[in-house]
Amino acid sequence: MVLAYGWSVVALPLAIALLVGLVGRFLGRGIAYVSALAPAWVLFYGIVACFEVLSAAEKGGVLARGAAVWLPAAGDGGMAVGWAVDGLTGLMLVVVGMVALLVMVFSSGYMAGERGLPRYFATLSLFTASMSLLVLADGFLGLFIGWELVGACSYLLIGFWFTKPAAAKAAVKAFLTTRVGDIGLLLALALLWREVGDLSYAAVFGMASALPGAVLTSVSLLLLFGAVGKSAQFPLHIWLPDAMEGPTPVSALIHAATMVAAGVFLIVRIWPLYSLSATAAMVTLAIGGFTAIAAACAAAAQRDIKKVLAYSTISQLGFMFAALGAGAWEAALFHLVTHAMFKALLFLGSGSVIHGCGGVQDVYEMGGLFKRMPITGATWAVGALALAGVPPLAGFFSKDEILHGVWGVQPLWAAVLFGASLLTAFYVARTTRLAFFGTYRGAGHPHEGGPEMQLPLLVLAVGAAIFGVTGGVIAALIGGHHGDLDPGIALASAGIAIVGLLSGWFTAASASDPGPSTSTGKLIIIARGGWGGDALVNAMLVGPVTRASALLDVFVEGSLINRIAEGTGPAARRLGRGFTSLQSGDAQWYAIMSGAGAVALLALVAYLGRGF
């Protein structure tokens, strides 16, 4: 029985990370294929788990589990870290394993000739292990450990080209921003520990309905804060566009398909708890809806092909959050899966484009690539249409389910999401036309990558095309409900997609940047910068903290505490003689001081000894 070895899904990638990190130098090009063993095992395990769940009589149950005491305590059993496999875990393992496998294969071509490949593949394997732990954990503690570790891997991989100052900066920014969110998660854990006394999902869910409302709301909001940080939702979205400084395959894996979706996964995972708080649901819906449309606007204004995809990712994650806020958790998970397919495809496609154009990322310097890179172009087109929500590709079905879910709860926010859909189709068409059609405006010689780069594109294109039919399967895996297509919504959404695509297509006819001269141009530049989120955070957080620290250093530490300590005041001069007289070596002064100490001690002993 394979499922009993669930821990191996974490342990094997970990072992491979260690192996690749230590002896990767001697593996040559084979390093990618050794590393690929890890996600392959994860994928296999996930598929087995999914089949087991689907064939089981009772859906939604745990198939296998294990635990080890991590922090023993004499008073009680201690805190355990454990793993458990159910439908959701299986599904996530399939997504993680599949994308990671394809990304590693793609990397063997994309990263060929780079320095530091052992570091790259070791970190990717470590990421696979951490992400597996995150989804496999049977409680908040294991989740948190995986959660932090994927963040660290993301840090290391964004900063892979660390000699580029922008990459180094982006890595730190990504880690710090997500860590702000992690505080929420950590506090939620602390609160749950205090209220429940156990951090395993089973125990928490068992107690959930008995918890006071304030606690439920606090926990849900804190967890939401953590999820917002990880999934780059407003206002903690600022790190994701910068994270594009990392290698493109990394963006595909971490910043499109898996890690950034961890926030959505978290809320789906703890749905029995989360669904109890109406406040949290409202906030989630608002954050998701707002992020979806704001990020879509920003995406429409980008020049950098990867930044388009980054903002698009933020926007699509906003759709998922909105779905969660509306209670349509099955739809959110469904969209997570389809999004992983088509967004990973688009990222890898953009990687192929960047690779082919010799490192150029500006869409205004591309054009006409469809003819020169037919496979990339064709697969990109599939992914783009899926993202835009054109039937019958995957994105259409999942987005439709989200819109349907939100429409039933908050029609206003559904309208916002329709707007975001329109913008999505718009920027998809604009980017596609600028990059792939028209005439080539760059200076290089665009060419298709090797078969190891084309194969993942083709596989993902198939996934992006057909995963729309998996909605029912996914709902069955997690024991949720899968509604039929709502004809009205479906029609409206398809129509909006077409309109958006057309308008985007025609906007892109002129392949030049409007520049800051017009008011539209000014707006575009603001939107391109992510609506000033960076400036806001700098002004509200980074600046004050740095300034306050500098003030503390100079005034409190320097002028107050150290001055008292060194005794420069007149009253302390006598004591200061003791400090400084080492230079003068005044032994007699020391003798006087020790004599005084002895006298004081005698006096004390005499005082204390009175009673005897």
């Binding site: 007699q588 006087i592 004599g595 005084a596 002895a598 006298v599 005698l602 006096a603 005499a606």
Partner: protein
Amino acid sequence: MSVESAVFTVLGIVAVAGGLATVFAADVSRMAIGLGAFLLAVAGFFVYWGATFLGVAQLFVYVGGVLVLMLFAIMLVHRTPDGSPRLETRHDVSAVAVAGGLFVMVVTALSGVVPDTVDHGLVTGTTELAEALLGPMLAHFEMAGVLLLVALVVVVVIMRGGDER
């Protein structure tokens, strides 16, 4: 006032006066005389208490040895043409406080447990001393010998090192 207490008082006055001269005298020779007086007075105490051998040893070792050594040292290091130099003393309130405080503390601490005066004499001859030294105190005796030897070697090493510089 009995003869005993008179002797005690005189010896005490001499000892204290000698000690004060040692500590306060500004002149090197006066300091040496003060130290000599102090050491003699201590030897006198020993003899007065009947510890004759100890008193004689004090007389020989200190007055005959240490004091002479000290005078030699003074002559060696204070070779100034214009007679004896002034010995500078940095009088200090804190030093007075420490010394005075210690005095008060120790005297008050010990006053209850220590007999005020020594009124009866010790009747020991050299035989008892020799028996003690070679009997129960043999280890101490040997250690004192080793100590003296070590001190001798150390002095030689220090002085030779001084020559090299």
